[in-house]
Symmetry: C2
Subunit: 255 residues, 2 copies
């Protein structure tokens, strides 16, 4: 199984702290050695780094730990191959364009007998069930809403149906973002935390590193972090229910 990390904020925030703990799982404290990737939205643009080296060995991961790219929407993934070879084309997150927006997607889990007909413009480049599911999601959203970006509530309702169909084929923990919202779904394990004023000190579980967020934030900042396993051991993470879908905007859950 793979590991997922998502971040959604109301102000551009760097992910150095969380990524440091997360990347450690890519080969050092955990066995996810089959590549990794991270995508940062900056406005409508997206910056994606993928590598089929283990995150713990990767010079690109090292760069990200040292170079604080600020973003309101981040999706990262460390891969333990279940389906598909260890190649760059199989590294998450995947990126496609729909409605003049980039969509970024990462998946944890394994789908069985999932062979949707892809009759639209989205085709997998690699051989993972994950990229296939992503192409299917975009195709179905485009079928429902045509050429026009729908309202968030409409999109969320459509996504609920599409994701339920996919999740019927196996484990489908996923993160999806178009740079305006972060859509998340849990089949088996996903946790989130919303950090906001008053900020406290957090300590990584996987690394000997602490950060006092009150020193690097303003009282208006709000940051949601979503992960397959909690990253810190002195904070309270909320566990998703199985089948739960949550949408984050500006660092908060949209009810």
């Amino acid at each position: 199984m793979c590991q997922l990390l998502g971040m959604n904020c109301n102000t551009p925030t760097d992910i150095v702290f969380s990524f440091t703990g997360f990347a450690t799982r890519g080969g050092l404290t955990d066995h996810h050695r089959d590549g990794w990737g991270i995508a940062f939205f900056e406005g409508s643009g997206v910056r994606t780094f993928v590598d089929h080296q283990a995150a713990v060995d990767s010079p690109v991961a090292e760069l990200i730990k040292r170079y604080p790219i600020k973003s309101q929407h981040v999706i990262a993934h460390i891969r333990k191959a279940t389906q598909g070879r260890v190649t760059l084309a199989n590294c998450h997150p995947f990126v496609r364009e729909l409605w003049g927006r980039y969509w970024v997607f990462a998946h944890n889990g394994d789908l069985k007998n999932f062979t949707p007909e892809l009759d639209g413009p989205y085709r997998p480049v690699g051989t993972t069930d994950s990229e296939l599911a992503f192409c299917y999601i975009l195709q179905e959203m485009r079928k429902r809403f045509g050429h026009t970006l729908p309202l968030l509530a409409e999109l969320r309702a459509a996504l609920r149906e599409i994701v339920d169909h996919i999740a019927g084929h196996g484990t489908f923990n996923m993160l999806l973002s178009d740079g305006s919202a972060l859509y998340t779904h849990c089949s088996t394990h996903l946790y989130y935390i919303v950090r906001q004023h008053p900020f406290a000190t957090a300590k990584l579980s996987d690394d000997d590193l602490s950060v006092d967020f009150s020193e690097v934030t303003t009282s208006n900042d709000r940051v949601a972090v979503i992960v397959t396993q909690p990253l810190t051991d002195n904070e309270v993470w909320t566990q998703y229910q199985s089948g739960e879908m949550k949408v984050f905007v500006d660092g908060a859950v949209v009810e």
Copy 2:
């Protein structure tokens, strides 16, 4: 105007030497300070780095100069904004998927009164004429060939027509690749060189750096480099004619 750099090889080759000279033009020996980007194919996968900082200041560009990513198809771009703001979404190269392949595109030039109707699945995310032209190319290729990747000769003939239409609106020097061939078009200035056995020493025009390619190659290697301005001052570069299109496969021009 911007600068373009393309590489097409018969064996995965690193671009450290050429990129070093090329990146120097991003703010140091030239005035292209409005961002840069580079995309490397690795098999069918693609690794893209974009930055809206000048290449000469960018820690990501620094990483690429030190980290020899090997690829058979590389497209790089340094931007001097003519249309569209300096944002990440406006940085070349642009990437989209068609026929289960990633397509990578970069453009040098300026298009006037180019307002094609985009009725297909490809829409620009940013505001450049370049990304608009790229979306138009993919839309028109998809219209002609439907769901199936055509033969290279068919694709080239179609691209010739599509590119002629675009180039009728202004300057359209471009590089386009799907990871199997590199398609190039010159409106005003584009040069190429094919390096092959017996390899010699090349010296960068923009930087005090030489490399003896005979020490880092085998006698079977063949590498084509395509640029808007020659990168070395002791080699013979072939200048394109205006309106010329050339397709490179395995480091050689396909006649």
